[in-house]
Amino acid sequence: MAEQAVDRQEQEYPENHRQQQAAQKEKKPKKKISGDQWVALGFLAPSFILVLIFVYGFIGWTGWVSVSNWNTLVPDFSFAGLKNYIYLFNDYRFQADLRNTVFFTILFIGLVIVMGLGLSILIDQKLKGESLFRNIFLFPMALSFVVTGVVWQWLLNPSTGYNQFLALFGIQPKWYTDTNILAGFEWGSIEFGLPVAIIAVVIAAVWQMTGFSLAMYLAGLRGIPDELREAARMDGASEFQIYKKVILPMLMPITVSVIIIMAHISLKIFDLIYAMTGSGANFVTDVPGVYMFETTFRGNYYANGAAIAIIMLLMVAVFIVPYLLANRRSDG
C-alpha cells in the first residue's frame, strides 16, 4: 500500500519525489506523512526546484556550452571536446589571469585577515570611541565594488591622488599602470611572478572588505569569556602570551570562515577590476571574471567564456565543497 502511494505521488509531483521519499523513510514504519508535512514540503519545494534548475541545471548547461563549438553569435552546440579548455590553457591572456588570481587572492586574504584581526584587537581594548572606529572601518562594506573602483581609480592614479603625498618622499609608484612582474620567470607564454599593478587593486579590495573580517573577529573576541583571560593572567601569562596561546587559537574557526569567504570573493572577482582598471597593459590586472565577460558578451566567444566560467567554478569548489561538507557533519 505504502509503495503504491509513493508511486502515485511520484507521478503527480515527480520533482518532489526525493524529498517525499526521504520524509517517508523517517516516518516509517506505518506512519503516513501528515498533512502538516505535506504543507512543509510545499513550502520548500518551489525554492528547491528553482535552485535545482537555476544553479545545478544551468551549471550543467554551461558545462555543455564549454565543450561545444559556439564561438560566434549563432549558437552551435556541436561537440568540440576539450578544444576550448586547451585553447585557454595555451592562451597568453588566460595564463596571465591565473597568475594574477593567485597573487591577488594571497595578498587580499592575507591583508584582510591581518588588518581585521589587528584592528579588532585594538578596538576590543575598551578604548573610548570604539563604536566610532568600528563604524569607520566597516562602512566600505556597504558600498558597491563599482563605487570603490571608480573612487580608487583616481586615488591610485599615478599623476594625482596619493602620489601627491608620496612625492614629498620622492616616491612615485605607477600603481595599476605598472607593467613590471616582480621576481618573474618564464612559465608557459607568460612571465610568472607578482604583477606590481595588482597591488593597487588589492589595496582597494582590502579597503572594502577589511570591515568583514573585523566584524567577524570582533564577534569572536566578544565571545571569549573574560574569566579565561583572567585565569591566564593569574597563571602569570603576559598580554602578548594570552593572545598568542589563548585567544588566537580560539579564533581559528573564524579565520577559516574568513579565508573561505574571502577566497570565493577573490576567485570570482569582476566588478571591482572592471570598474577600476580593466584588464590593463599586458593584462597585468586582468582576471578570469573580466576575461569571461569580455570574451562572451563583447566578443561572442560563448564556448570559451563558458570554459572560463567552469574553471572559475572548479577553483571556487576546491574551497567551498570541503567547507560545506565539514559544516554539515558538525551540524549533525
Partner: protein
C-alpha cells in the same frame, strides 16, 4: 602606570591613523564633487573647494536619475520576495526537519558560493526565451532565485534560536503548520526580516554582473550607469565622484541608520548555526 599610558597612546595612534586612511576616499569624493568646474584639476585633488558648488551633483543626477529609479524598482520586489521565500524555507529547514532536509539545505546553500559567471550564459538564453531579457522583471527573478541560498541560511539560523517547546505547545493547542507560521514564527521574525532585508537590499543595489549582462540602456540599474559614466572620456571626474556618492547613498544611509542590523546580517550569513 606610565608604561600603560604609552601603550594606550600607541593604540589610539594606530587606530586614528588607520581611520584617517580609511576616510581619505570619502574626503576626496566630497571635496571633488563640491568643487566648481574650474577648480577641478588633477594637481589640486586634495585642495578644499573655494566655494561650495553643487553643479556636479545636478549633472550626475541628470545622468543617473532614470537608472537610479530602475534600481529602486528592482531592489524592492526582489528584496521582499527573496526574504519571504527565505523565511518559508528557513522555517521548514529548522522546525520541520525530515530525513534528507540537511542535504537539501546543503544543496541550496552551495548556490550562494558559485561564481555567477558559471550560470550566466544559460540564464540569459532562458530569460530571452521567456521574454524577460533586458527587463527589470528579469533582474528581479534573477536576484530572487540567487538570493534564496543566503536568505534561507539566515532565516534557518534565526529560527534555530526559537525554542521548539513553543511550537510543541502550539501543536498541543491544535495549531497546524500554517497556523504556527502565521501566529508564532512571523511575529517573532521581525528582526530576522529587517536583517535579511537590509542584507538583500545592499547586495542587490550594489550588484553589477547580472545588471550589466541582463539589461541594456533603458532598464539598466544605477551601478551600470555609474560605470558607464566613469568609463566615458567626456565626463569630468568631479561628476564621476558626485555620481559615485549618489549611487552609494541608499546603502550608505541604510548602514548609517541601521548599521547594527547590517552587521548582524554579515555575521548571520557567514557563521553557520
Amino acid at each position: 602606570m606610565a608604561t600603560f599610558n604609552v601603550w594606550k597612546t600607541i593604540k589610539y595612534f594606530i587606530l586614528i591613523v588607520m581611520a584617517v586612511l580609511f576616510l581619505t576616499p570619502v574626503y576626496v569624493i566630497l571635496v571633488t564633487s563640491l568643487k566648481p568646474l574650474d577648480e577641478v584639476s588633477l594637481a589640486n585633488m586634495w585642495a578644499l573647494p573655494s566655494t561650495i558648488d553643487f553643479s556636479s551633483y545636478s549633472h550626475a543626477f541628470s545622468e543617473l536619475a532614470p537608472n537610479f529609479m530602475n534600481s529602486v524598482y528592482l531592489v524592492i520586489p526582489a528584496t521582499l520576495l527573496s526574504a519571504l521565500l527565505g523565511a518559508m524555507n528557513g522555517y521548514v529547514l529548522s522546525k520541520w526537519k525530515f530525513k534528507g532536509s540537511e542535504l537539501i539545505f546543503t544543496v541550496i546553500l552551495f548556490g550562494m558560493f558559485i561564481p555567477y559567471q558559471s550560470i550566466l550564459i544559460p540564464l540569459i538564453q532562458f530569460l530571452r526565451n521567456i521574454e524577460m531579457y533586458n527587463s527589470i522583471a528579469g533582474l528581479v527573478l534573477t536576484h530572487v532565485v540567487y538570493g534564496l541560498p543566503i536568505t534561507t541560511l539566515m532565516f534557518r539560523n534565526f529560527y534555530a534560536n526559537i525554542p521548539d517547546t513553543m511550537l510543541e505547545a502550539a501543536k498541543i493547542d491544535g495549531a497546524n503548520f500554517l497556523g504556527i507560521f502565521r501566529h508564532i514564527i512571523i511575529p517573532l521574525s521581525i528582526t530576522g526580516f529587517v536583517v535579511v532585508a537590509i542584507w538583500q537590499f545592499t547586495n542587490i543595489w550594489n550588484e553589477f554582473l547580472f545588471a550589466v549582462t541582463i539589461t541594456n540602456s533603458d532598464s539598466q540599474p544605477v551601478m551600470v550607469a555609474l560605470q558607464n559614466l566613469s568609463g566615458s572620456q567626456i565626463v569630468q571626474w568631479n561628476v564621476q565622484m558626485a555620481g559615485a556618492l549618489l549611487a552609494a547613498l541608499p546603502t550608505l544611509l541604510v548602514y548609517i541608520l541601521l548599521g547594527k542590523y547590517f552587521v548582524r546580517g554579515l555575521l548571520a550569513g557567514s557563521v553557520k548555526g
